[in-house]
Amino acid sequence: MTGADTAQVVLRLDRITKRFGALTANDAVSLDLRRGEVVALLGENGAGKTTLMNILFGQYTADEGQVMVMGRALPPGNPRAALEAGVGMVHQHFTLADNLTVLDNVTLGTEPLWRWRSDTAAARAKIAKLSADFHLAVDPDARVGSLTVGERQRVEILKALYREARILILDEPTAVLTPQETDDLFATLREAVAKGLSIVFISHKLHEVMDIAHRVVILHHGKVVAEMATTDTDRHALAAAMVGSEVSAPRVAPGTPGAPLLQLHAVTTPDQGSAPGLKSVTLSLRAGQITGLAGVSGNGQAALADLIAGLSVPASGRLDLGEADLAQWSPRAAVEHGIARIPEDRHKTGTIADFSLTENAILESYHKPPMSRAGWMNWPRAEAETQAIIKGYDIRCPGPDTRIRLLSGGNMQKLILGRVLEANPCIILANQPVRGLDIGAVNYVHEQLLKARDRGAAVLLISEDLDEIMALSDVIHVMSEGRLSPEFARGTMTPAALGVWMAGHGFDEGLAHAS
């Protein structure tokens, strides 16, 4: 692979600048990609990686600079031109239509629109060949909604290959995969590179970058701060360059587990469409302990989170919160039983975008004194409370009247933390609490969770990021297809061993392996 240095440049980004209002998302970013080369674009959330790729793909227009593919400038703002020039993109959030088949999704837009028949036979043959050549097994007639996350990603890659892409852009492709699936993906990518394709690999995971890339370009606050060959560097150097300064992650001392505060006994919940429900899940969350829940997204974590958050009830089995009577299990009952709920999607579920900070801060407490009395709101009180949260949680905002839509993701999450932690909850449900946040905010959220644990709260941390789970958790469970693995103590499992469980192995014989 050393030949890449002298090979032809297939893609050149030339001093790309993109501003959104006052924010400069990309500041004169340049990048070269050669034939048969994998370049990793590394940077933390908000560094400008995705914006840069959207410009390359024609979804945004750059304010300055240009994109050259095979030596020719791409017309700006035209995804079709990018596709036709041989650029294929696999977005972080898949762009697939769930109710259509794999074949439909792959062939969408590849034929001229105005013809009387789609040539499905030829398409089928081509997909079969590509699947074989690149080890991308999928059933072309399957509904995309019924596929696993890993399979959907294969469909996305197939889409690009079907269009004869010469350049593949992968935006955080491993975020949703098990370690084993990641290995498979890397095998496919190496295959592609061997066949002469070139790849831009966007990630913030250092070990993957070291594993797959030839060269690394590091973005920080929209600027290229470093560019190096992976052979000339190591993870520590990359980490330092990526963050811009040394940010120390919180030191995690083991917790001191106490009594179980919340227990599930053989709980089963119905499937929700293609999302599996819980399959006889038994779990106990202990005081003073962080329980990590690992697993590929869409394997029942949502069902578990919904249950604990009060949005669903067990179809069979029992939810046990000490002596509490759970006949009326609802979100409000969950809050009243001291469960702090940090939802997976802070934009859609955690906050109401067009409400002010104050209105968002009282979402769970508006219905009772002191926020309201006999149906009448006490707005001055609500505002005072919000001011306290703004101060206590260091929320950067113009004031409590600001619509929360205008806040950054980190500040939004801090408001949610303030809302749920102010009541000194005994149980904390943290579902993907740091997704999409920059490192500063990530560390802040983690510190808060650890503080709550040390105060004696039971924390359930649900995350797709195995590194996060392994760093923070005192005990770990893995979920797959709605089943829960036995409890693993801190330090007893390697990522690969957890990956076996994430892929759904071990559950049947699981009880024998436990402890």
Binding site: F20, L83, T95, A97, N99, T110, L113
Partner: protein, 314 residues
């Protein structure tokens, strides 16, 4: 005459097919819009405008088919207004749809008053005549019911096939359906969501207008206020009832029309004479609501129906 006699008479089924025809046009039009992700509540007003435009064109001396074309173009014009506001600007499809209905209805009435200031009863035109299809129209029961209709009815049935074919067998149809399921997927494949959705709404609105024109040019031969009388809203229910599939929507429209034809006949029986006629007139609306209730749990709604797509969203 008891109900079985009615159900076995050719004239009953001929009436049912006739009543179904305008609903088929308009339902197909709405279905195309919704498959691409846009709810078009302009349907009621667009049908009124189509009914007037086609009739007026013929009254002014144009031929019948050019009259249909005029109705279609007028419908497409209102569709363009609707789609411009709801697709690139992403405004509320509810509000814009109702606004378009009001705009189309009031401009139609205004135009009517301007064109015919003095008349008390609207003039008649030479409407479409039935075409007897040779041989087929001689088949007992089925012949008179299905094959002695006006050409617009045949067109409605042919269009069901055409729309099915386009939606399920062509690249354009795939793109339209994808725009209603996940517009981001369409954009990522280099197609224009805006173009597809606007095109669907414009063409769909054209069909709605033809449905309206059927009333003045085939079912009747004149234009009255209140002539559409909620048929547009019924078509929206029919789209749901038909689970967004042209074939099933056709079935729903015929079924619905058969009930309508039945109630007209039962009204004339001794039994019917004792029941207030308003009860009979209510049945189409009640049936539509019942259909919605029955289908609500099962229907496969296009996932991105009423979801605006803005490619600049971050």
């Amino acid at each position: 005459m008891d109900i079985f006699d009615i159900l076995l008479s050719a004239s009953f089924w001929a009436a049912a097919i006739r009543i179904a025809s305008p609903l088929i046009f308009a339902t197909l039009g709405e279905l195309i819009c919704e498959r691409a992700g846009v709810l078009n509540l302009g349907i009621e007003g667009i049908m009124v405008a189509g009914a007037f435009a086609g009739w007026m064109a013929v009254y002014s001396g144009l031929g019948l088919w050019p009259g249909v074309a005029v109705a279609m173009v007028v419908g497409m014009g209102f569709g363009a207004v609707h789609s411009l506001l709801t697709v690139p600007f992403g405004l509320s499809q509810h509000v814009v749809g109702l606004g378009v209905t009001l705009l189309a209805t009031s401009s139609t009435y205004y135009a009517y008053r301007l064109a015919l200031p003095e008349v008390t009863s609207p003039p008649k035109i030479m409407a479409f005549k039935p075409w007897e299809i040779p041989l087929l129209s001689d088949i007992p029961l089925i012949g008179p019911a299905l094959f002695s209709q006006t050409p617009l009815t045949y067109l409605a049935f042919i269009l069901v096939g055409v729309v099915s074919l386009v939606l399920y067998r062509t690249p354009l149809g795939l793109a339209l359906r994808a725009a209603g399921e996940n517009p981001a997927a369409v954009a990522a494949q280099g197609l224009s969501v805006t173009g597809l959705r606007m095109g669907a709404v414009i063409v769909g609105s054209g069909l709605m207008a033809v449905g309206g024109a059927f009333l003045t040019m085939s079912a009747f031969d004149s234009f009255f206020f209140e002539m559409v009388n909620g048929r547009g809203w019924i078509c929206i229910a029919l789209v749901v009832f038909g689970a967004w599939k042209p074939g099933k929507a056709l079935l729903g429209a015929v079924l619905f029309a058969a009930f309508d034809a039945l109630q007209i006949r039962v009204q004339q029986t001794p039994l019917g004479a004792d029941i207030p006629y308003q009860i009979f007139l209510m049945t189409p609306y009640v049936l539509s609501i019942l259909a919605l209730i029955v289908m609500s749990r099962r229907a496969e709604v296009p996932a991105a129906l009423m979801v605006a797509f803005n490619k600049g969203e971050r």
